[in-house]
Symmetry: C2
């Protein structure tokens, strides 16, 4: 089962750091792909690639693809589309069904206004609470629910460094 994250509505002037954090959450919470829709923001892509180089993992990164076409293709290939929005159904009500379908999942994460088309084309519109917070936190909590907390213990192949959890201070193990 493939879990990809599609970030839509990225505005380079405003969203560089937020979108980078969305990409980092995708990787750290177990997604295997991160797609930056409609725009190829090299700053974001390079930040993410650097993290992969150092911390490992095999997440696929793509930027500049047409978001709507990507979604349509995803569905044609039998995958399902989950749009995270504060207006959607509570995650706890739908996440078991989403997990159990075993279909590839494309998780769509918007910036400010998301066009109505995305609500319509999604198989699920899912909320992480119905209060305003952040696409970064929404994605993290959704993936945490989807993977039932196991994603936090994932090991990353080809990592150059690894952290050894400590009571105080920092312990980093270099692997090369």
């Amino acid at each position: 089962m493939k879990i990809y994250v599609l970030r839509i509505g990225h505005r380079p002037e405003r969203d560089k750091r937020i979108t980078t954090h969305v990409g980092l959450v995708a990787r750290a919470f177990g997604a295997s792909g991160f797609i930056l829709g409609d725009i190829n923001d090299k700053t974001v892509v390079n930040s993410l690639r650097k993290v992969l180089e150092t911390w490992g993992g095999t997440m696929e990164i793509l930027a500049g693809v047409n978001s709507l076409n990507y979604i349509i293709e995803w569905k044609k290939r039998g995958g399902e589309v989950i749009h995270l929005t504060m207006y959607g159904l509570p995650v706890d009500y739908v996440v078991d069904k989403i997990r159990n379908s075993r279909k590839d999942k494309l998780i769509v994460v918007g910036a400010e206004k998301v066009p109505p088309r995305y609500y319509e084309i999604a198989d699920y519109n899912v909320s992480i609470g119905n209060q305003p917070h952040s696409e970064v936190s929404a994605l993290a909590v959704f993936l945490d629910r989807l993977f039932e907390g196991k994603e936090l213990y994932k090991r990353y192949v080809k990592s150059k460094i690894e952290i050894m959890p400590q009571v105080k201070g920092k312990k980093v193990v270099a692997k090369y």
Copy 2:
């Protein structure tokens, strides 16, 4: 039991949106206070106050207080301090103990480099996975674990609008 969030190391040029998202997560995931340490960034504070005005709730907001003094005072009054860091102990290993102490909790969330002093003064250094992601997601998942998912169903007093969860589209109820 009081749960406050202290954001340290905020850099106004870089962190405006990330810090605002940290504050929104604090509110939406059940904290009753948000402290922006060492700097009074009016853009951040005003964005958060606007959200409170519209969406309700009583979260206390403070900015510009000395972070270390605030932590020291918190501990003097019998509260405990939880510093979220990718170098700390896994959240699942410590969160029950933290919840069960029933002490007031100050959750400290850093930006890039956090000075060693904070690791030492914290009662707990806690990681949400040991991979780089975001202070926004780290805070959300920590609070979600602390409140065992119940925070997503919290109602907010004095809200002017409320969302009715929908399968498709948006439904907002105005309460005034």
